[in-house]
């Protein structure tokens, strides 16, 4: 992802959804009002500072210390302007709040520090959101732990993900391309790495994608490698010995690990499976217990594949 947020104008990202146009026109209204008033205020400040520079200690100054007319005018005109801006902002907001009834629904779950997406047919993905182009999509958001926020700059959508309740956003993507989903509500050490790829696909490609994501006839090691990347294991585990959030998985199979409670364990098939499904159970000493559970997200075949793959990482 070299340049995942593409620019549409100097100020704003490219418009990737139907919402973006509306929000950008509201932005433009605020922008030109601001530019106008800034020129007025800064211009007058600088002009007066030059024009009325003190020339002698005995300068006389204006005795005028109020003018009701002027004050009423300069209160009412800005008032009218900001009230119109309020309505512009409100209309876009109402539009963004109510999803069309026929929208395609995807569940999204945020947790420290990844996004999981579940499609109506049961397909789940981690840190990869694929959506069809030209069709309203409603994302139903929930959190497994704390507050996060679902933010796709190119689509101009943002919504907090709140534990204990559901929130949602909707959008209709307009271009078949890739962009990025970011977490915008501070959530701790991995906050700024909590990202997902957003893939907008042509409707027919989207159907193919859904199918293709459900099964795979790859050999186990390769499927495992694919899953390792797709399920974002690499966010926390390196394969080259570097320490990130979790222990490096370089040559992990057969290694002896010391656990938080001091016990020793040799990494085998069962330990890997346990780590995937019940990660809080046997935490390696010196690491925070932050790994999410993949229970329900990985099929047995996929666990086998991951184990097969880890055996190959020397």
């Amino acid at each position: 992802m070299k340049n995942p947020i593409e620019l549409g104008s100097f100020w704003l990202p490219r418009q990737g959804s139907t919402l973006a146009e509306r929000i950008d026109s509201a932005w433009a209204a605020a922008y030109w009002v601001s530019v106008l008033f800034f020129i007025l205020v800064a211009g007058a400040t600088v002009l007066f500072a030059i024009k009325y520079k003190r020339r002698s200690e005995r300068d006389k100054t204006s005795p005028i210390d109020h003018s009701t007319t002027v004050e009423v005018v300069w209160t009412l005109i800005p008032l009218a302007i900001v009230i119109s801006l309020f309505f512009v902002g409100m209309r876009g907001y109402v539009h963004a709040s109510v999803a069309p009834a026929e929208a395609y629904e995807i569940n999204a779950t945020g947790e420290m520090y990844l996004w999981t997406f579940t499609y109506p047919d049961g397909t789940t993905t981690v840190n990869e959101l694929a959506v069809p182009r030209g069709r309203p999509v409603r994302i139903i958001l929930s959190s497994k732990d704390i507050l996060h926020a679902f933010f796709i700059p190119e689509f101009r959508v943002k919504q907090d993900v709140v534990p204990g309740s559901y929130t949602s956003v909707w959008f209709e993507a307009t271009e078949a391309r890739e962009t990025v989903l970011l977490c915008a509500e501070y959530c701790g050490s991995g906050h700024s790495d909590m990202m997902a790829t957003v893939k907008v696909l042509e409707p027919s490609d989207f159907d193919k994608w859904l199918e293709g994501n459900n099964n795979s006839d790859l050999p186990p090691e390769e499927l495992g490698k694919l899953l390792f990347a797709k399920r974002s294991c690499a966010t926390c585990h390196s394969l080259d010995g570097t320490r990130i959030q979790g222990p490096s998985l370089k040559a992990v199979f057969g290694r002896e690990e010391e656990l938080a409670d001091g016990a020793k364990v040799v990494v085998d098939e069962n330990y890997i499976r346990e780590s995937l499904f019940n990660p809080g159970g046997q935490v390696v000493r010196g690491y925070p217990p932050v790994m999410p559970s993949f229970k329900g997200l990985l099929k047995d075949k996929e666990v086998d594949a991951l184990i097969a793959y880890l055996k190959t990482v020397k």
Partner: protein, 545 residues
């Protein structure tokens, strides 16, 4: 002929049996720690809050240095998170909220109304001690493992997840709240009870109206923060389940409580700054202030209506759409009085006699920077636009333009303005001008670039960021060095003034409010004889007079 009081000459006599100036009146460290003189207390506030500002500033420079490159530059993610939390908490609770009321408010308020001291001098000293104790608790986290929640302490991260020392910091802020409430209370009573003969409410300098409005907010809003923090402490320590959804609580409720205080708190930060600007502009342009009553009432209006807009921090939190719409509307209404003040200040410049002294240069900077801060608030108040901008660097830039470009610039301008009165020494205009220019340039380089980053989608509180933002981040970091240099020059300028500045006359700028009628520095009792006010604070000599 145009003087405010009749006792001018007597009051400028530094001695003559009427006592020495407040600094030399007594000596020894105990004489300071047990003093009830509002000027000494103000001076101790000045020094304490300045230390806080310097600390917060160093944190800021380190943060910016880390952000020079997208991945790790000088520290780990956890350290970074603790650093921005402390930066925010120190700047907010230890510097900007207490500084102007505590330092300039304490020093000037009694003198400006012609009183000997505040209404409750011992309570005033207690406020200072509470400030120190609160500061110690807050800063103790530095050695007990930091705190990484952000200065907003949002739950459930703060209550259930983080292992850092949330308790000591929130308890510290709780204590600081008491300090703030007591100061506000003291000021309100002082203004009601101790004004000198002849000083009607409409004769008061506008700085005092602003402090009055600030005090109202301090008294009404701060207790809510106190209760919220106690609930958070209870939640964290005993899992009572008010905020934690796992126990049936509601994390959004915390945000309502928090912002019910912290939005008004934004006015505790900006109103005193606005108050200072009135004095700077009218005195250094020798011009009657334009629209005295509009300015006075708008301060009070901002303070009161400011209680109704907290929800604009929560447009994307999942509060009801109806609530969001109401909050947006009220936000625009409360913006109007601030705009009106700006117009009044500019009208005061019109046909004035503008000196390019440091206080005026700061006031002019304020007008420009605060306008940018205010205008960008329009974007954030517009519901649909805020969906895109919320929690991005656009917000970071916006509040730094208001808090630093507004309040801090006004405060520094005010410090130069009253420096001769407080210390009895003049400062070097040349150094002050250089530092003002560096601050203005450095500030804009640092923070204007952040508007661009934010609108392009750079979220705030990010330790790592997408490569594409590096040029703007690097630009901003270089700006922070210029800004830091500007503040350094300012400090050098003040230290030089203390060591070798020329003695200050009683009234170096030709101001008309009461503080300029007493000696520089004032005697312990402020005035030799109680002043009698016959003219307003802004009745400058005019062409028809």
């Amino acid at each position: 002929m145009s003087q405010t009081v009749t006792t001018l000459d007597v009051n400028t006599a530094p001695d003559g049996g009427h006592g020495t100036d407040y600094i030399r009146a007594q000596s020894g460290i105990m004489s300071w720690l047990t003093t009830v003189d509002h000027k000494r207390i103000g001076l101790m506030y000045l020094i304490s809050t300045f230390i806080a500002f310097a600390m917060g500033g160093v944190f800021a420079l380190i943060l910016r240095l880390e952000l020079l490159t997208p991945k790790q530059t000088i520290m780990s993610a956890n350290t970074y998170n603790q650093m921005f939390t402390l930066h925010g908490a120190v700047m907010t609770f230890l510097f900007i909220i207490p500084s102007i009321p505590g330092a300039l408010g304490n020093f000037l308020l009694p003198i400006m109304i012609g009183a000997k001291d505040v209404a409750f001098p011992k309570l005033n000293l207690l406020s200072l001690y509470l400030y120190w104790i609160g500061a110690l608790f807050t800063l103790s986290s530095l050695i007990t493992g930091g705190i990484d929640t952000g200065w907003t302490f949002y739950v459930p991260y703060s209550s259930t997840v983080t292992t850092t020392s949330v308790l000591s910091v929130t308890f510290g802020v709780f204590i600081l709240g008491f300090s703030s409430v007591l100061t506000g209370l003291n000021f309100i009573v002082t203004m009601h009870k101790l004004r000198a003969p002849g000083m009607g409410w409409y004769k008061m300098p506008l700085m005092l109206w602003a402090i009055y409005a600030t005090s109202i907010v301090q008294i009404l809003a701060t207790p809510v923060l106190g209760i919220t923090l106690l609930l958070l402490i209870a939640e964290r320590a005993f899992h009572i389940g008010i905020f934690d959804p796992a126990l049936g609580g509601d994390p959004v409720l915390y945000q309502h409580f928090f912002w019910f205080y912290s939005h008004p708190a934004v006015y505790i930060m900006i109103l005193p700054g606005m108050g200072i600007i009135n004095e700077l502009i009218s005195v250094h342009a020798r011009r009657r202030i334009f629209g005295y009553k509009a300015i006075a009432f708008s301060s009070v209006a901002i303070a009161l209506v400011g209680f109704l807009v907290w929800g604009h921090h929560m447009f994307t939190s999942g509060q009801s759409e109806f609530a969001a719409i109401m909050f947006s509307f009220l936000t625009f209404l409360v913006a109007i009085p601030s705009g009106v003040k700006v117009f009044n200040w500019i009208a005061t410049l019109w046909r004035g006699s503008i000196s390019y002294s440091a206080p005026m240069l700061y006031a002019l900077s304020f007008l420009i920077l605060f306008s940018i801060g205010g205008l960008t608030g329009i974007f954030l108040g517009m519901l649909s636009v805020d969906l895109h901008l919320h929690d991005t660097y656009f917000v970071v830039a916006h509040f730094h333009y208001v808090m630093v470009g507004g309040t801090v610039i006004a405060y520094i301008g005010g410090l130069h303005h009253w420096w001769p009165k407080i210390t009895g020494k003049m400062y070097s205009e040349r150094l002050a001008t250089i530092s003002c220019a560096l601050v203005f340039i450095g500030f804009n380089v640092t923070f204007f670039s952040q508007f661009i980053m934010g609108s392009r989608g750079m979220p705030r509180r990010y330790y790592n960021y997408l490569d594409q933002f590096q040029p703007l981040h690097a630009f901003s970091t270089v700006g922070s060095w210029i800004l830091g240099l500007g503040f350094l020059v300012m400090i050098i300028c003040f230290i030089k003034s203390l060591r070798s500045g020329a003695p200050a006359p009683a009234n170096p700028w030709g101001g008309l409010s009461l503080e300029w009628t007493t000696a520089s520095p004032p005697i312990t009792e402020n005035f030799v004889r109680t002043p009698i006010v016959t003219k307003g604070a802004y009745d400058f000599n005019t062409e028809n007079a």
